[in-house]
Symmetry: C2
Subunit: 158 residues, 2 copies
């Protein structure tokens, strides 16, 4: 567990493939969202997890529990219409490690980058490198749950 | 995991205290419900669990994962307005073991009994003992999630 402090940005210029490495393919499905709580299942080559995120804004409570693959697959059909898939790359940046996600499926071509911090001060102090795009940390349309349910926001600003 | 096959009844006449034993006190809070999926946290003296139930009717997929108490308590505030507490007693009945729940808090005085089965045939064959009341297995107002959110159904039939 703990408190997850992170910022999320669009990607203005994706890093070169050499900087990205091969990445890890995830598929994740949203089991249920209500109030400020979201419960999802993530299936990756290395295993499967149930993740519960609760709270809003920069700092959220996050509980992540490993789940046997067979159980994750039994839950998967119940996430229809609330799914996404992506390849996650970990890229070092000044002030931390960026998780650069290239989405597939219905969101093919979309890139998003997240950086996790130890403290809210670190998060506030972070200066995004030039390849980062708009800061969407507090934009509810850019949560993964929203992307999985409604797709990419159709707005001129982003 | 597995598929949970159970029937739920009201209680016409609660068993005598000697037949009930001391029971186990649970509190459970509903983290999120969406579509046919429900995700809850249960905190008992012996530990805490995250449970995900998916699907409708007699047979549902159920995934139960132990969660450290500290993490369960961190999620608990996010279940406000979607909670219940009960004392659960296990009582042998012909055809299985009945889980007899006496609710507390806002639902004080309510009794419900559930019986779990190996197969749907066993469930269909089950003859409830005389102390059981109405069969509410398929009544959405009598799920624990509904009781936690909306309280006891205010209807003459039950």
């Amino acid at each position: 567990m703990g408190t997850e402090i992170e910022r999320k940005f669009l990607v203005a210029t994706p890093p070169a493939q050499d900087d990205l490495g091969s990445g890890v393919h995830y598929r994740q499905g949203y089991l249920a969202g209500e109030g400020d709580v979201e419960c999802r299942v993530r299936i990756a080559p290395g295993g499967a997890w149930i993740t519960i995120k609760a709270g809003r804004g920069l700092a959220r409570t996050e509980v992540e529990l490993p789940v046997p693959l067979e159980e994750a697959e039994a839950l998967w059909p119940h996430t229809a219409g609330r799914r996404l898939e992506k390849v996650r790359h970990r890229v070092p940046v000044e002030g931390g490690v960026a998780e650069v996600d290239r989405y597939g499926g219905d969101l093919d071509g979309l890139w998003v980058v997240e950086v996790e911090f130890e403290t809210e001060e670190d998060a506030a102090r972070f200066v995004p490198p030039s390849w980062f795009g708009a800061d969407v940390s507090n934009d509810p349309d850019w949560t993964n749950g929203a992307l999985a349910r409604r797709g990419r926001p159709d707005r001129p600003d982003t």
